[in-house]
Every structure is written in structure tokens, then in C-alpha cells.
Subunit: 197 residues, 2 copies
DNA sequence: CGCGACGTTGATTTGCCTCAACGATTGTGG
DNA sequence: CCACAATCGTTGAGGCAAATCAACGTCGCG
């Protein structure tokens, strides 16, 4: 059961044999996280990718003024990782924390590398996952450059309907790139004007 | 000569045998582009990745108001592509155009796939390139959310010193996320205040 | 030469931030 | 289980960074 979600995800991209499934189960490590528990803290050197089975993780950076800048939410079925620290071996600039009680699977860098040696076709899955990250980031970048805060919020609600009531407003505000105060006022204005939400 | 740059880049990540080098040469297509020549136009379906040998390409999106939003510059040694159109087969949202006379190599999606079948270790290179894209985009996103326009410009100059005098100001302005007017005034202010540039 | 794109400058406007105060929720120790 | 603290969300006043609009000089190009 705990592997169902990830095997299903992977199968959509590369069909898996029984043997391959068993192998994947053997290299993934399961972990339960309580709300507010950290998976990664600024300054550490990271070596794993995380797959969310249930719950939700949040990654953020502490900016110059000590404020938290939310970079990503990951709810069930998504990966989250600091590729920079994993690839380059540098201390990470960011934090990953459980936004709510969560269950995850851990894929270490050595396990990932070994798995592609043993089953070269896994590379296709890793590759496609990365392509999707690039696509997602490019779209988000474009959105931040070209859309107003209201549009970004509406888009957020469309993309992550399950998060709207799961994570705190200040984190949503940070994700879409505004202050909590402005976000609060903006929501009120949207409600009045459009009678939505 | 025309393959030197890319073979060197790839060799840094995966050592290449003579045979592998020859194979790569056989699947990459060379192309010369004149300034303002398009490689990709909005609405087309894309199937290739581009590697810049010399010159510089620029990708941009037409936003709602019909303005060009520059997403990326690629000068020599960089890849550029619309992963979204390639992976998902959707009409592309963006344009890729030569900012100056340029020479490129073309890697089609089928060629890429075939190459990893023939030489599984190529997957490692593709994979690492994508990881670097993710890292780059994540850093740029963070910069746009947390830094002022001046800081973003200084960072741009540090990262792409060769572009400062190669591409037009309005494109740099767009890349860092401000209007040409503001960019002009900002540069003047920076010159006065800090006697730099 | 003449036209259109580019860069500059200034006046005005606006989207969003900052700071401060306060009520509402949530978490915690006694 | 309550009391209190801490954090969160809301509201309002005032401020600033950057956008918009308009006018003008300049340059490259057909």
C-alpha cells in the first residue's frame, strides 16, 4: 500500500515488471513526519529526493531580512528535493518541513544511480520527472513576471485546490509573492467584487 | 571544430570513447542562423533541443498585452529548448530567435531517445543537464521574489558578462523583469551613485 | 534620405510593502 | 481543562518601487 502511489506514477511513464517493482520497494525508504518536523535544514548537505505519499511538505528559503520565502509545496504524488545540494554537494540554502502530518519515501542519490545502472530504463522516468520540474518552474517564472497577484492566486487555487485550506495563509501569500497583509486585503477585495471563493 | 564545444561539455560529465564521439557527431545537426532568424515560433510543435556553438539565442513569450517577455538567453555552451512542447507535444507558447548571428547544433527528441538506448550512460548527461536547469530556474525564481531590480541587474552582469553589450537593453530589462524606461533610469542612478559600470 | 525601432527623461499613477494596532486561533504548561 | 502566550489573520494609514504615458533625440537600415 505505501508503495502503491509511487509505483503507479512511475508505471504511467515506464511499464514496470514485478522484478522492477520489488527492486524499487527495496531501495526506497519509508518515513513518517509529524507536522512541523524538518526533513532538511539550511546548511546541511543533502543527498536524497523525497516523494510525498500523504500530507504535504513545504520548502522555503530564509531571505536577507530573515523572512521565509516559500519556494514549493509538495502534496501527495509529488517529488521535492534540493537538486543543487544533491548535484553539487553544496550546503543547502533551503529548508524542507512538513506542513501537516505526512508520509514520504526517500530515494538517496546512490540508490538512484544504482537503480539506473541495474535498470537503464529507469533513467527515462527520472529524466521525465526533471523535465516536468523545468516546465513547472518556467511557467511559474513567467507567471510571476507577467501576472498580477490576483491572477497568481487564482492560478494557485486551480493548480492546488487541496492546499487552499490545508496550509496557512501566510505561506500561500509567500508562495505567490506577496505579504500576508496584502494577501488578506486582496482576498477580501476579490470576495466583494466577484462574490467568489 | 564545430563539435568541439559540445563534446568537451559532455566529457566533463561522462568520459567519451572515440566511438561515442563519432556517434554523437552523426546524430547532431549543424545550423547557421542570421540575426533575427527564428528557430521556433509560437504555436508550432517542437521536437528538438538546441545547443549554442557561437552567438546567442533568446527565448520569449508574448504576454497578454502583446509585450515580449524574455525568458532566457543562451550563449555559447548552453542548451535552449521548450521542454513543455517537446515532452507533451503541445503547441509551444514561446519563440526562440537569434539575438545575433549564431551557430547551433540540433538534437531531436528521437535522436536523444535513440542515443540513450544505444549508450545508456548518455542518460547521465541529459539528466545532469536537466538538474542544472532546475537549479538555475529555482535560483532565478528566488531572485525575482527576493531581490530588487538593481540587485537582479548586478547579478545578471556577473552571470552573463558577455551579454551586457551584445543584446539590446530592452531585452535585458525584460529578462530582469522591469520596463525599458525604468531600466534606463535605474542604470543612470546606479552610475551616479556608485560610479560603476 | 527618411522611417521605424531604440533609448532617455519627466510627470503621474498604481500595486504592493511597511508599520502598527487589534481580534481570533492555536498551542502549551500548570 | 483552563489560562495565558504566541502566532496568525485583519484593518488602516502612509510610503515607495516600478509601471504607464507621452515627448523627444538618436541610431541603424532599407
Amino acid at each position: 500500500m505505501m508503495f502503491d502511489k509511487i509505483l503507479e506514477k512511475i508505471s504511467k511513464i515506464i511499464p514496470l515488471s514485478k522484478e522492477e517493482k520489488e527492486y524499487l520497494k527495496s531501495i526506497l525508504k519509508f518515513k513518517k513526519l509529524n507536522k512541523r518536523e524538518f526533513l532538511l535544514k539550511q546548511g546541511e548537505i543533502e543527498d536524497s529526493y523525497y516523494f510525498v505519499i500523504s500530507g504535504c511538505l513545504r520548502s522555503y528559503i530564509n531571505d536577507k531580512k530573515g523572512m521565509e520565502q516559500v519556494l514549493q509545496f509538495s502534496s501527495q504524488g509529488w517529488w521535492i528535493a534540493d537538486n543543487e545540494s544533491i548535484l553539487l554537494g553544496k550546503p543547502t540554502k533551503f529548508n524542507i518541513v512538513a506542513a501537516v502530518d505526512s508520509e514520504i519515501l526517500i530515494l538517496s542519490k546512490p540508490a538512484k544511480e544504482e537503480s539506473t545502472k541495474k535498470f537503464p530504463k529507469f533513467a527515462k522516468y527520472y529524466n521525465e520527472s526533471l523535465e516536468r520540474s523545468v516546465i513547472f518552474l518556467r511557467n511559474r517564472l513567467n507567471e510571476i513576471l507577467n501576472s498580477s497577484a490576483e491572477e497568481r492566486y487564482m492560478d494557485f487555487c486551480k493548480k492546488f485546490p487541496e492546499l487552499k485550506n490545508l496550509v496557512s495563509q501566510k505561506h500561500i501569500a509567500s508562495y505567490i509573492g506577496v505579504t500576508p497583509e496584502f494577501f488578506s486585503a486582496m482576498k477580501k477585495k476579490m470576495k466583494e467584487e466577484k462574490r467568489i471563493l
